[in-house]
């Protein structure tokens, strides 16, 4: 005989029958059922198999405390793995399958593993598969491990909504305590949120089977909900408070129905009231994991909420005073109940998949269901998340919340106040910041903990198959700290995270060491309280929205010109135009001119009376001598002397500069400038303004650049416009700034223009450029052009060790008198070393392939090789007709003409060290304009 409907009450809707299958068989339940309650009503006892030994298991608890019944559930085209049967509401058409069992939970072929259990104690896998190599066995063992099966299909619209909300008081737990507290607080004018993880409020009221304050539970709950709403409170059901984080932020997961992603609510509560109740703990006896052994609370819950009586012939094994009232309720529902005192001796469950009875002190009692209660454990997880301490209360043999926390209180069963009347009084007091006098409790318990050295297999962690013997073994092998015990035996590491097993585990360890339970302590409680979907944490922040690309003002123009757009340093920029033919674009730029979008280049203005002194401090190079109208190339260093950024700085006026840092460093440089401005300088005499996004830049570079810019009629005398200067110009009545700065080695004009006129300038440049053979070029061609000239890209041709003197810029290091960022870092022993890696060029024969970027330059050292440097940039140069490469090589500057060995993927070749400038070393092309 097994469970059945009593037709007495509960919260199910008998007018709405629901059909579902479990392990291929058809069943039906009602609206309001969970998968577990519906199966129990259909007399299904075996709902799962344990993780290690594949022992048959039934449900232990009726809610989040059940470790046994875990299903893969399919509804329509959605399959979700590892759903807890006791917390998954039943939906018509569900197909459920027990995990870790084949073909079914009832007949699992791996059930034979249990026969070998004596050879598989804790640490079995660690010890057995050490030799010769764990990795030989790992794939096979991994196949044995794991629970449900993940459906690789993507669930459409599976996206968590993200909500942020504040309140005066967040009440977690909508039982009698939570409802009473929320009502009082709301009526006192506080903004209140009350959350409960069940679909209905009421918590433990339904299972207790008694009236509350003279009313039936349902009507008392309804009245309180109405009062809370009327007073402006917010009620949230099917919502789990799964973690408390810093500064009173509580995370809530709100169920949106099966197959839909839950919503995440981040609640910032001035005060949190923990009214999370208590749960039953198992008794450690022989075969206490058999199907048909259930918690008293679980059986009461199945009856009160779902109208399912766990069995007809019940033995109730308990060590506490709640057993009597439970027995009365079960009897009234139609069961025969034998009350047994668990403290009288060792118990043993009889039977296999079907429970036959229980043996206590050698005396056999037949029963179809064995309910066990080892006492109530307050649910204190959130208290520990918040950093609260626990006190051991010997009177109730449980850990309870200790010293009050700032911003958090506990009340009711969660606080160890198990009597309903006392809990209500406590709730109403703490809701408004008051305290209550301690009242005599009616709850009586005789502590009952695992008996060390006792015979038989006694389960401590049901899901992970940890027995008392495993805990004893761990202690013998000196894993005595509860944290070590947990990791060695995996006790408490199953998907229920030790909700049912931790107390028994640490009590056993305490007994083994002859210490008191509070001395041994608990393992750390960490969020989430129950498993939550990873989806919850990111919501819409995925794909493109995870890290949005910066978009160019000229994106439409690039698309129209056939650009292949890609991500470069956080920006969506043209890689090339039309067919991928970088050579053609390079030759066009060298033969006529390349026109490219340089808008992401930094344009950070530094202004104010102390601006000149400030930029002189920020830059490695001397900037104070820069004339108005001129531009200088320079480096910014870290305080360690490492090159952080390179770029140019223009002096617009005596007290006004524009820093043009590299595109991907704009945010970093801005933040660094702000830091130095406010920390160590007078912030009223320096102002920093990042105008990068205000000024799109169109660059024209090449031998025909001057002819093109001439036709754009910018009102600038190009004959009197030398390199490294800037001019104000006008384009269609808008002011433009033109800089003669080159990143290709050819004559180059960077034209920065207000956003509105950028498309007209781009179109204009192309219109006059194309008849001359010029055209748009992308970032890939630009990358080749700059390498031909030996211009570096920071972060590509440099790494976290490169200093300016490694790149041939040694003068400020020895000559600059004023202090600057990184100055002292340039004179450490390491910085002064003769063996530093320095930037060089590499040449291979004209007919050879380009060297792989990232290849090492090696020298023979004993039997092996030693790397003396790396290739940082390497291309087939279209302009020169042979491969070129840049590299960082130890003492590179002294090796000109030397032949080195290149090592790449076990292949060796030879390359000759040359100066890192391949094109126009004298700069004649640059000055041609």
């Amino acid at each position: 005989m097994s469970g059945f409907r009593v037709n007495a009450g509960g919260l199910i809707d008998r007018n709405k029958p629901l059909n579902f299958t479990f392990d291929g068989r058809k069943y039906s339940g009602f609206q309001g059922d969970t998968l577990a309650s519906a199966l129990l009503a259909n007399r299904v006892r075996v709902m799962g198999r344990s993780f290690k030994y594949h022992r048959p298991r039934g449900v232990w608890g009726a809610w989040f405390d059940d470790p046994n019944a875990i299903f893969d559930v399919t509804l329509g085209d959605v399959t979700l793995p590892n759903c807890s049967a006791t917390t998954t509401p039943l939906v018509d058409g569900m197909h459920a399958r027990a995990v870790n069992a084949f073909p079914s939970a009832r007949f699992d072929i791996k059930g034979v593993l249990d026969r070998f259990s004596r050879f598989m104690p804790a640490g079995f896998y660690y010890k057995t598969f050490m030799w010769p190599n764990w990795h030989l066995f790992e794939p096979m063992i991994r196949k044995l491990a794991g629970l449900g099966h993940l459906d690789p299909a993507v669930i459409n619209d599976y996206q968590s909504g993200q909500h942020h909300i504040r309140c005066d008081l967040l009440v977690v737990g909508g039982g009698a305590t939570g409802l009473a507290a929320a009502r009082v607080a709301a009526e006192a004018g506080q903004s209140v949120i009350l959350v409960d993880d069940h679909p209905e409020f009421g918590g433990g009221l339904y299972r207790q089977g008694c009236d509350v304050e003279g009313q039936k539970p349902a009507s008392w709950v309804k009245e309180h909900c109405q009062a809370i709403t009327a007073a402006g409170g917010k009620l949230m059901t099917a919502t789990t408070a799964f973690g408390v984080y810093d500064h009173n932020m509580v995370a809530l997961a709100q169920d949106k129905g099966f197959g839909k992603a839950p919503d995440l609510w981040r609640v910032r509560a001035k005060r949190i009231l923990m009214a999370t109740g208590a749960m039953d703990r198992p008794i450690t006896f022989i075969n206490n994991d058999r199907p048909g052994v259930m918690s008293v609370d679980g059986a009461m819950e199945f009856l009160g909420r779902y109208d399912v009586l766990a069995g007809r012939n019940i033995a109730l094994l308990s060590n506490n005073s709640f057993a009597q009232s439970a027995a009365t309720v079960l009897q009234e529902a139609g069961a025969e109940v034998r009350l047994l005192d668990a403290t009288q001796g060792q118990a043993r469950a009889l039977g296999g998949k079907v429970l036959r009875g229980v043996e206590l002190n050698g005396k056999r009692i037949s029963c179809d269901t064995l309910l066990a209660s080892g006492g109530l454990t307050p649910v204190v997880h959130l208290w520990r998340h918040a950093g609260g301490k626990l006190d051991w209360n010997a009177e109730i043999a449980a850990f309870v919340p200790g010293k009050a926390l700032q911003g958090m209180v506990a009340a009711g069963a969660a606080n160890g106040t198990f009597d309903l009347g006392h809990a209500l009084a406590e709730a109403r007091a703490v809701a408004t910041g008051k305290t209550t006098a301690k009242q005599p409790r009616t709850y009586q318990i005789t502590p009952l903990w695992p008996e060390i050295g006792s015979k038989g297999r006694q389960w401590i962690d049901f899901q992970h198959d940890v027995t008392l013997k495993d805990v004893e073994l761990a202690a013998r092998e000196n894993y005595v700290s509860v944290e070590h015990l947990k990791r060695y035996t995996t006790l408490g590491m199953a998907s229920d995270q030790g909700k049912t097993s931790n107390m028994a585990g640490l009590a056993a360890m305490a007994a083994l060491q002859g210490r008191a339970i509070p001395e041994v302590g608990t393992t750390t409680f960490r969020p989430p309280f129950v498993p939550v979907a990873l989806e919850l944490y990111h919501g819409a922040r995925r794909g493109q929205v995870f890290n949005p690309l910066k978009r160019l003002v000229l994106e439409n123009q690039h698309r129209a010109a056939g650009a292949a757009l890609g991500e470069y340093g956080g920006w969506l920029r043209p890689g090339w135009y039309g067919m991928q033919d970088i050579t053609r674009e390079v030759l066009k730029a060298r033969g006529a001119a390349g026109i490219f979008d340089a808008s992401p280049l930094g344009k950070i203005e530094v202004m104010g009376p102390d601006a000149a002194k400030f930029v002189n401090f920020i830059y490695y190079n001397t900037i104070s001598t820069l004339k108005v109208g001129a531009i200088r190339y320079g480096f910014m260093l870290t305080e360690g002397g490492i090159v952080y950024d390179d770029g140019v700085i223009a002096r617009l006026a005596e007290n006004r500069f524009v820093i043009s840092c590299s595109s991907s460093h704009v945010d970093g440089v801005s933040a660094a400038l702000e830091s130095w401005r406010q920390d160590g300088n007078d912030p009223d005499r320096i102002f920093i303004h990042n105008t990068t996004q205000n000024w799109p830049t169109v660059t024209v570079a090449g031998p025909k650049a001057r002819a093109i810019v001439e036709q754009l009629k910018l009102g600038i005398d190009l004959a009197d416009f030398p390199p490294m200067t800037w001019r104000d110009g006008v384009f269609q009545e808008a002011g433009v700034r033109v800089s003669r700065v080159s990143f290709t080695g050819d004559v180059s004009y960077e034209i920065s223009i207000p956003v509105a006129l950028a498309p007209a300038l781009w179109d204009g440049a192309l219109a006059v450029g194309e008849p001359l053979g010029a055209g748009p070029i992308g970032l890939e061609a630009l990358s080749v052009l700059r390498a031909e000239k030996g211009y570096i890209i920071i972060g590509k041709d440099t790494d976290g060790e490169v200093m300016p003197h490694d790149l041939g810029f040694g003068i400020p290091r020895t000559r600059k008198k004023a202090a600057f960022v990184g100055d002292r870092g340039l004179h450490t022993d390491k910085a002064n070393s003769k063996d530093r890696r320095q930037l060089v060029g590499l040449r291979v024969p004209d007919s050879a392939d380009a060297i792989a970027t990232g290849a090492h330059l090696v020298e023979t050292s004993g039997a092996g090789f030693r790397s003396i440097g790396i290739v940082t940039s390497s291309y087939d140069s279209p302009t020169l007709g042979h491969p070129i490469a840049l590299a960082l090589v130890e003492r590179g500057a002294t090796r000109l003409g030397e032949e080195l060995t290149v090592w790449h993927m076990d292949q060796q070749s030879r390359a000759t060290v040359v100066a890192p400038v391949f094109l126009d070393p004298k700069g004649e092309r640059l000055d041609a304009g």
Binding site: Y245, D246, H247, M249, R266, R268, G387, Q406, E639, G640, S670, A671, E674, S675, Q678, D679, G680, D682, P683, D684, K817, A818, A819, F820, D823, R824, G825, T828, D829
Partner: protein, 88 residues
């Protein structure tokens, strides 16, 4: 998630802030002689105190740099000050 007080914007979530360093560190005068030990200490030595700490943080949204006093164990925010000296 913690909440920090920006002197400019008020209480904001910690993800808007950037740790800039422990307060009270002065850059050595590098125009004079600075020993290796002093420079290394300036760059790398952190007190990393357990308990009450004074730190410089930047609120990235408005770029304001300020001093935050907090408890590194309890995460309690104890107060904040302007970094600039000339503000009364």
């Amino acid at each position: 998630m913690q909440q920090f007080p920006c002197p400019f914007c008020g209480l904001r979530n910690e993800r808007e802030f950037h740790f800039a360093g422990e307060a009270g560190k002065t850059r050595p005068d590098t125009t004079g002689k600075v020993s290796n030990a002093d420079w290394a200490s300036y760059l790398y030595t952190l007190k990393n105190r357990k308990g009450e700490v004074r730190e410089v943080w930047m609120h990235r949204s408005c770029s304001e740099l300020f001093i935050l006093r907090r408890n590194s164990v309890t995460m309690a925010v104890l107060g904040h000050e302007q970094l600039r000296k000339d503000v009364p």
